[in-house]
Amino acid sequence: MASRTVQLEIKRQASPDAPAVWEKFELEWRPGMNVISAMMEIAANPVTAEGRETTPISYDSNCLEEICGSCAMRINGKARMACSALIDNLEQPIRIEPLSKFPLVRDLQVDRSVLFKNLMAVKAWVPVDGTYDLGSGPRVFPQQQEVSYPLSNCISCTCCMEVCPQFNEETGFVGAATIAQVKLFNNHPTGKVLKEERLRALAGDGGIQECGFAQNCVEVCPKQIPLTNAISDVGRDVLVQKVKDFLRG
């Protein structure tokens, strides 16, 4: 099977305002190939299937084991992590495009900083910074750990936002990842000091109310985070907080 090859079609764009073009590549098949390793091979020898010289493909990636969240892209139309997209499991030619909901930087590289702005907007952290040693935190019971651990697996890949019909420029929806992190930090014994602020933040424009419960987020999540459960739980908490604020106001 020396002649067995892999066909890839990659959508390329030199800069945010440059026209998009498709380039075809043909690589020799090797066992265990994934989309990132294929693009590494292209970088080593950047020649298209037609034999024309081109530039290496620009993309984000780091860990190559589905844990850093960098290499999310659309592969055969679906958002997923490129490092865990095994060539043998994909229909060829493999069509690779950048995520569609984020500002494009170059080729398959997009600017996903909106997720980090959203995480800051809901204060998705445990506040322990100070001028003196606060000592050890309260104990987290195993039952709580069971709930929190899956939520803590979020790798900020933004796949849940990419596939969400409500995450777009019209709604400015915050997306499932941020909502799940609100649940994580609100359940933390020290993190819950900011619970009310997080819930009020999520009731702002583009907040949890924009969710249409299409449930694509939970289908696509590479870490199997129970995102719809989190949206339901946090949705109730936000509502209760707003009612309390109204009655106490």
């Binding site: 764009q13 945010p16 305002d17 440059a18 026209p19 139309g77 679906k78 909901k101 984020f102 500002p103 494009l104 600017d111 909106v114 702005k117 959203n118 907007a121 809901v122 936002m161 596939v163 019909p165 409500q166 995450f167 777009n168 420029e169 019209e170 709604t171 400015g172 929806f173 915050v174 941020t178 009020r200 933040a201 999520l202 009731a203 702002g204 424009d205 583009g206 907040g207 949890i208 109310q209 924009e210 969710c211 249409g212 419960f213 299409a214 449930q215 694509n216 289908e219 696509v220 129970p226 719809t228 459960n229 949206i231 339901s232 739980d233 946090v234 949705g235 109730r236 936000v238 707003k242």
Partner: protein, 257 residues
């Protein structure tokens, strides 16, 4: 615009704006939309389909039901506050929610995503139909609140047209679908069913309820177009079954004192 001259240049996406933490009032308007769909609109839908079911007992019983509803205290106020205004808000805001969503069912043909799309189409069918239905049955033609006896004939005359009948059947299915899945969505988004298994179970409950309502609704339509009450008189005396039972009739014949 200067960029319009270069048609080859793609649209530069500025991207989705971050959360406006704690700002704006859209939370209130979304929750109001969601709540109104269940109460009062959903509650009224159940009442309406139950009332329609009286048509199976014939024109007199149907007329009695219409007369009873129109004898409720402050009925015109109830009608506007609990039916017309909530329906208008739910419909118009629902369309607003729809046009701001960007369906991607082509790329992600998953069950929940299909239901997301179906909820929008069934909602639009329901809204258009209800507007037509309220206009023709409540505000045009014979004024039923004043002439409840004419209600069966009025509906029957309208359903006599095959096209209108088809619209009513399609709308009945769309309305029941939209309501049943709407209740499921309400429970999911308001945190009543935060567990995946709970949502699955409640899905079966909503399906059963929706099918039951739809079957009742279609049976009521059959009462108007079927052979049993064909060519109902223009107007009948509103008499419910309860009032013409032998006991009532006997009691009625006794001369007291």
């Amino acid at each position: 615009m200067a960029t319009a001259q270069h048609s080859a240049a793609p649209v530069v996406h500025r991207g989705v704006q971050p959360l406006r933490a704690g700002q704006g009032t859209s939370f209130l308007w979304h929750k109001l939309h969601s709540l109104l769909g269940v109460i009062p609109i959903g509650a009224f839908l159940i009442e309406h389909l139950l009332s329609n079911f009286e048509a199976l007992k014939g024109p007199a019983a149907y007329a009695a039901q219409v007369k009873f509803l129109n004898s409720l205290p402050l009925v015109r106020v109830l009608e506007w506050v609990f039916i017309f205004l909530p329906l208008l808000y739910h419909g118009i805001y629902g369309v607003y929610i729809w046009i701001r969503g960007k369906s991607n069912i082509v790329y992600y043909p998953w069950a929940g995503n299909w239901m997301y799309v179906a909820q929008r189409y069934t909602g639009l069918i329901a809204f258009a139909y209800i507007a037509y239905h309220v206009a023709t049955q409540r505000f045009l033609g014979v004024n039923l609140p004043e002439n409840p006896g004419a209600s069966f004939h009025k509906v029957q005359a309208e359903l006599a047209h095959p096209l209108i009948l088809a619209v009513y059947i399609i709308a009945m299915i769309a309305v029941c679908w939209h309501f049943a899945y709407g209740v499921w969505l309400f429970a999911a988004k308001w945190g009543i069913t935060p567990g995946a298994k709970a949502r699955r179970r409640f899905g079966w409950v909503c399906l059963a309820g929706g099918v039951a309502l739809c079957v009742m609704g279609l049976a009521s339509i059959w009462a108007f177009v079927g052979p049993k009450y064909a060519n109902a008189p223009d107007t009948v005396a509103p008499v419910s079954r309860l009032q013409v039972t032998p006991v009532r009739a006997a009691l009625g014949s006794i001369r007291w004192g």
